[in-house]
Symmetry: C7
Subunit: 97 residues, 7 copies
């Protein structure tokens, strides 16, 4: 069972933190104000809608990318005990490389 | 008697849960915040408007699809004791496959 | 004397309920939340504006159709003791067939 | 002295009721809710702006037509002791014929 | 020293009432509701922006015209002890002829 | 060090009033309501963005012009102890000549 | 690890003030009202989205530019203990040169 976003939407999922993993390599830390809300602003893309592609060439994001998005954006859903967020591409601000 | 949505709208209906059915195969569970509102966000498409089709080719949704939609979207109607929700396609976020 | 809506508007009128008529054949019942407001959401089209037609072909609604519309949409007027609602086509959600 | 509306506006004036005139022939009566506000929603067109014409052919309204308009629409002005309302064509809902 | 409005704006100035002038010839009187606000809605155009002209031909307003405008529209300025109002053409409703 | 506005923005600076200068020659006085706010509405253009030019020909404003702008428009910044306001061209109402 | 903004966004970072550095050469001081909020309005561009380029030629901003932006614009993120702000290009008002 999978979730397929429509139009220009993407589905993201919070990365599960491996306990033994160090934060120095690619670890993203949110500023204090964000921590208070306890809403992480970054997640991994697990699915993209069919319109996620620029008119002239290469897409800016793809499944597997870690992205930053607006804290109040998107709709949460839970499927098979996994939690996802469905976002419009317009709410995706940047990719972490 | 049937309901035919206009323009780019779809009509959805909550799937009736069979008591003996297991949730492990395709069972969708909503997160806690959604449960409090007691408004399920997914339903089955029972009719689509004539403009539900992308400009270049294959439609993204069809009658019979299970879709996720915005919790506060749509208009509820009851016809012949059956309850339906009429949604704009813009409020349909994703298809569950 | 008649009422002719402009542009993309339609004029609808609540169907008068015949006391002896049964509800099983095409009877539309509104859900509880709608009943509280006591605002029926369906009526019959009695006139359409000259722009009520899709760009490519057949019109989706016509005089005589029973339609569902947004509860808070439209403007009520009374002419010759008959009450009408003037609606934009955008507020007409679906046709009951 | 006359008033000439700009662009897509019309000027309307409430029809003076002749005391001896009967209401059965073309008399328009507003519903109770409208009466409470004591704002009649219909008046006669006395002038139209130069852009009051559809792109493809015949205009939908003309000077002399009795029209229905949104209760809260328009701007009242008084010229030579005559009261007028200046409306955008978008606030004119229908013509009474 | 003069004021030159940009784009599609006009500059208007309230007509100074000559004490001996009678109101019967072109005198405009505002309705009671307008009088309470003590904001006259008509004034004379003293300057127009360079974009005040329709695409197909003759301009609808010109310097010297007496116009009616939205009561809450525009920005007041005073230059050399003269008070002016700068209005967008969209806030000019009609010309008094 | 200088400030270069982007797109269709302009940078303005309040004209420093020379004590000995008379107001009769080009002195602009604001009406009472504006004075209470103590926000002058006119200033001199010190820089313009690269898109400040009409499509068909001559620009309406240039560096050195004295302009009138919306009281609540723009963003104040201070650079090297000089205070500037960055405005969109849409908030510039008129030029004083 | 780096941050790559999407579409027409830029990533900026507040310039670290070197204690021994004088403010006379390029030091930007914000007015009192801005200081109260303690939100500096200027920062250095560290990354730009792929759509940051005018249609006809040269881009107005580039990595390394010091820019002024709307105080309430943008989204703060912290990556590897560095704080960044992601802004739409529309919220970038001017470049300091």
């Amino acid at each position: 069972m999978s979730i397929k976003p429509l139009d220009n939407r993407v589905v993201v999922q919070y990365v599960k933190k491996d306990e033994g993993e160090e934060k120095t390599k690619g670890g993203i830390v949110l500023p204090d104000t964000a921590k208070k809300d306890e809403k992480p602003q970054q997640a991994e893309i697990v699915a993209v809608g069919k319109n996620i592609a620029p008119e002239d060439g290469e897409a800016e994001i793809a499944v597997g990318d870690t992205v930053i998005f607006d804290k109040y954006a998107g709709t949460k859903v839970e499927i098979d005990s996994e939690e996802y967020i469905i976002l419009s591409i317009d709410d995706v601000l940047a990719v972490i490389e």
